[in-house]
Amino acid sequence: MILMQLTCCAVLFPLIGFLFNGLIGRKIKNEGIVAAVGCAAVGAGFVVACIGFFRMLGLPPEQRTLTLDLFPWIVAGGFRADVALQLDQLSVVMMLIVTGVGFLIHVYSAGYMHGDPGFWRFFAYLNLFIFSMLTLILADNFLLMFLGWEGVGLCSYLLIGFWYDRKFEKGTTGDAAKKAFIVNRIGDFGFLTGIFLIYVTFGSLRFQTVFTQAAAMTVGTPVLLWITLALFVGATGKSAQIPLFVWLPDAMAGPTPVSALIHAATMVTAGVYMVARCSVLYALAPVSMGVVASVGAATALFAATVGLVQNDIKKVLAYSTISQLGYMFLALGVGAFSAGIFHVMTHAFFKALLFLGSGAVIHAMHDEQDIRRMGGLGKSLPITYRTFLVGTIAIAGIPPLSGFFSKDEILWQAFSRGSWVLWLAGFAAAGLTALYMFRLVALTFQGEPRWEKGVHPHEAPATMTLPLIVLALLSAVGGFAGIPHSLGGGNAFEQWLEPVFAPAAEKLALSLPQVEIAEYVLMGLSVAVALAGWYLARMWYLKRKEIPGLLVRKLPNAYRVLLNKYYVDELYEGAVVKPAVRGSELLLWKGIDVNVIDRVVNGIAQITAAAGRGLRLTQTGVVQSYVLVFLAGVVLIVGWLLVK
């Protein structure tokens, strides 16, 4: 039907934009055309997504899954994977987020990247990213999804390393980009293994086939455990969960719009999407569910603690992202798939907003990112400040902004379906979130200016502020899509997604959510803890600024551990990277290759030559020694013959 053709076009537009900007963008000296093409390609996608959404609304829920087979991709032996698209409720939500937020960020970038020599390149990459992301979420089979999955990783790589000649922390942006790609690849290794297992188990990679077959299986089938765990490894890589989160903080080396789009709003949620997509499989593997939930909760708490002490505006947001992603997995792990996706959406709004806001700050401060050298920017950047504040409140989970609804849903589900431990972790993380986010606001926008002389912060141009405003609006009201029953809402969002997760829900034997007293209690607790965080932040960073210093002195070790992100990078460096490099060089290359194998090979040649040198000495030049050898030969041969 026409909608799928349109969807197909929506996928292709960014690709065309990429090709256009990538191939001839350099020749076009006009930023306007480049930006227009780039934005239009995404904007068109958003329009299609909207059309799709509304058309879908008009269909009965069971007919809302649409597919379009384009052409066979890889066919070999019994294996077949097509290039085919599938649009269903889940995809369309993701598509809306990706194209919508993406469009805003494109617009923002036109201002942010103004004057950059790589302007065309930036838009090309962004478009390629949107293309890959759309492929990821619209794929109708695992392999095509993997294509998008890798594609977004590539774009992430390209964009992190966009300013390839800049330094970043201890290394360069290139280091960060490489790290992102490689860590993602480790995850992909898991994903790929999962794909193999799926193919071996189900004989197909099509979602519909796989999930239909899986639905007929019993809970606890071992192979499903392995499949889901393998897939989850992929998800931890892409969505920066323990233990593969290390790349995301470094990914902040990229331009800020990139951080907003890729490393906050869209790509990093691909893992969430993937797990949600495979909800049936997970539902059949309770152990995996537990793993997902635990990892999510741990990551949420862990990243939040690290976020507390970071001084780089983007780093704080990065850890916050990791933390929020942890929430999403927590939700998935307890079976609250739609809550997870809901958080994906609200998070996309407010985290994009926060990043873009931070971008505006960085822009204003001429690439200064250290919040210790900011302060009091609220006056110079009123729009940025206000929108940023909206985002902060949203992420802190203070009602009625969007973050409250999604986060609260997750915490409640964690408590009711998971365990109180999971809830407690999420609860603590929620408090920490509020604390570090308001710390950020306090240090950046409030208090006294601490920047150096000669810096004159100024508000960003309209291309940048407009998206901020739009996103602030969305952050504010986005949550209303999913007002829980307990608050009198119908949880429209959950209902919308309900058919997608129905098979999983069936397996998990989930009943319809019941309104309980406990829910209100927990809701109150989480609001309270958020407010407490806000209060603490105000206390420590605006009123009594000596307290943080005091804490640092009191708990120097704890502080150092947090500041250095639990030394995970150092651990990986020391335990994996260094030994691998040294081992490869000294043991494998110079050891085995050069000193063993080649020495054996050359040794054979040398032995031959040495034998030759020795044997040629028998040729003394004296006739009689020749005769002697002759005679010896005769005696030997005749003797041997006679003995025989």
């Binding site: 040629r616 003394t620 030049g621 004296v622 006739v623 009689q624 005769v627 005679l631």
Partner: protein
């Protein structure tokens, strides 16, 4: 009483081996050549012995040819020795070792 064939043959073998030993121990090229002549002669003895004991003329004819060969070899060999002597003033074969290894 006839002498049995093995007697002749063993004599021939003895002479042959003496010739061989001579070739190996003497250093004068001409003497070495003479030792080779002794070897050939010992073979001739064996051939004639076989010929006579088998009643076949072939052996003796072969000895005839062997003699011709020996004569020709003598001519050539001595010519070579003379050529060397002209260049090197010696016929000591241990001195002939430019070509080696």
């Amino acid at each position: 009483m006839d002498i049995p064939l093995p007697y002749y043959l063993c004599l021939s073998a003895a002479l042959f081996v003496v010739g061989v030993a001579g070739v190996l121990t003497r250093r004068n090229a001409i003497v070495v050549f003479m030792c080779i002549e002794l070897m050939l002669n010992s073979v001739n003895l064996a051939l004639i012995a076989f010929s006579s004991f088998l009643g076949s003329i072939t052996g003796q004819a072969l000895v005839f040819f062997a003699m011709a060969v020996a004569a020709a070899e003598a001519a050539v060999g001595l010519a070579i020795v003379i050529a060397i002597y002209r260049n090197k003033q010696t016929v000591d074969i241990d001195a002939m070792n430019i070509l080696k290894w």
